[in-house]
Point group: C2
Chain length 366, copies 2
Amino acid sequence: MALISPSRRLRRTPFSDGVEAAGVKAYTVYNRMLLPTMFRSIVEDYHHLKSAVQVWDVACERQIELRGPDAARLMQMLTPRDLSKMQMGQCFYVPIVDETGGMLNDPVAVKVAEDRWWISIADSDLLYWVKGLAYGYRLDVLVDEPDISPLAVQGPKADDLMAAVFGDGVRNVKFFRYGWFDFQGVSMAVARSGYSKQGGFEIYVDGTANGMPLWNALMEAGKSMDVHAGCPNLIERIEGGLLSYGNDMTRDNTPHEAGLGKFCSTQTAIGCVGRDALLRVAKEGPTQQIRAIEIDGGVPPCDRAWPLMAGGKRVGQVTSATNSPDYDTGVAIGMVKMTHWDEGTPLQVETPDGPRAATVHEKFWI
Amino acid sequence: MALISPSRRLRRTPFSDGVEAAGVKAYTVYNRMLLPTMFRSIVEDYHHLKSAVQVWDVACERQIELRGPDAARLMQMLTPRDLSKMQMGQCFYVPIVDETGGMLNDPVAVKVAEDRWWISIADSDLLYWVKGLAYGYRLDVLVDEPDISPLAVQGPKADDLMAAVFGDGVRNVKFFRYGWFDFQGVSMAVARSGYSKQGGFEIYVDGTANGMPLWNALMEAGKSMDVHAGCPNLIERIEGGLLSYGNDMTRDNTPHEAGLGKFCSTQTAIGCVGRDALLRVAKEGPTQQIRAIEIDGGVPPCDRAWPLMAGGKRVGQVTSATNSPDYDTGVAIGMVKMTHWDEGTPLQVETPDGPRAATVHEKFWI
């Protein structure tokens, strides 16, 4: 791995002091912000995530706030998921597409009030698309990046740690719901969500100044639970089939190709951009789709798309891959053509270290 | 410096194989793409850039192509710079602003034909803003990211190296003009431009497959000129006052604050977004502006805004800083309030290593 050069442009977060004190070893850059990728080692972080509890600096899930009379209309324009029955207190995973149905982002939308929404974004400047639409349609809405920074608490002991800091009421928050909880006099939205399959919460930390006090409170309260600073873990997220925008799907792909057709109620999502294109896709079905790919023989770091081959022809590509200690195999996420996407199909994947035998699976490991 | 984790999301470029073979030591991430920041050392790269010639992988200056009947109208909507007299063969540095006059990017626009433009962008997903506007205004224009990747040749021997590969005609290309030149049967736009003050060119390499052949041809032809792989150099760019979007100005700033008022002909840039706000700014003038900041006593790496203080009050901030071997002082770029922006004003800058004496200058070093 090469080094990453420091600059203001690669933004620090409200939790960076804590991340550094915890001995972060590597970063990626996500929404022009530093996102830790490794503390002790990827494998040690992985085992710990599955057995204890971690605090994650995911401030890079920047927020976009829509506020005003046209906020709900604009939010529905952004996504083919039908939001008409969404309640306050709910979080929705929403594919965002352009006019051709190509994915621009796959954020979580939070309905704060009828006229106020937060969008907790994946890695692209969705703000620019939202502002462009709002301006072009002359909508009566404020679009901005508020000083809200998500902090995740993930792992099997997440409920206990959160209860120790926010009170037992937090245990009652249901999956992809949120409630308002007090921390040192500041009310913060706490959702049961997060980028792992181990369970946990995301706290929408209100105000940069509240970042380190909350980080420290969680670390202090979690001592008896073996709490550690952590981060989205490459192995666990691939085992769990958690997609990464920019890795596993891009603007070239529709939500249907990404396996997100179930989040597209395009017929009833009145006014959404890309509706015409997606209705066509929904009718015909995608011709390629995301699949779990098992790889034999060990894989190197995946920093580019690896061709998936069958009989000398390219039938797809792997975009995320690593070696799984728990499943004792190479685990990967790939996009596979319909001719070869059935469960158990044997393929070959071309890695920089040479070809490897691969098998298509319809379900991920976790 | 921490490590950077590999992933497909941090995109490789058509020149990455050459960059790696040349022993790149550090990267930044720019438009979700790897941008080298150091080969031998920042200081060794710096001296070499000023004395010889370097080939830079700046593919991260991604292109946006506007094509169609409304391309020119859309291009003028994007910027307060008057494009009405711009000719084919010209490149214009164009501030791009939102409806409030806040900067979204500061790219170079290339007029390829009356109905075809390229925008060579700084670090933000300007594509999303352009697509949003085009969609909202129902413009008759195609907006996309073409397979065009800039490769820069910079340094005092740049003319000689370029002439060896593209022929002597390239010597006649004027500053911020471009011409079409042949490389192995492919016609490519070659502009006299680049992110250094040492002179040189940017080649708009057409087609990923042509990347490494051109890289290798330049390296081969430049052997007698001591050519090396290089990259935008932190020291040289600060000495030269070359601004970096995301470091030295953000969406919070107007072009006037960034010292780019001379590129705003807002009165005649009919139809540009942000016109009302910028006409007001142009009338009243900015209340803070970019300045060269000289710092005594050595500076650490600048990874966040450093407060600029006068008499215990914050009067600005430093956003890029390093130590200059040639000028034997700390060199920096800062934003300073009008009360303290005059030449020679003494200030104090709060670095993570402690306070330093600083002096405001109206001109940069190079």
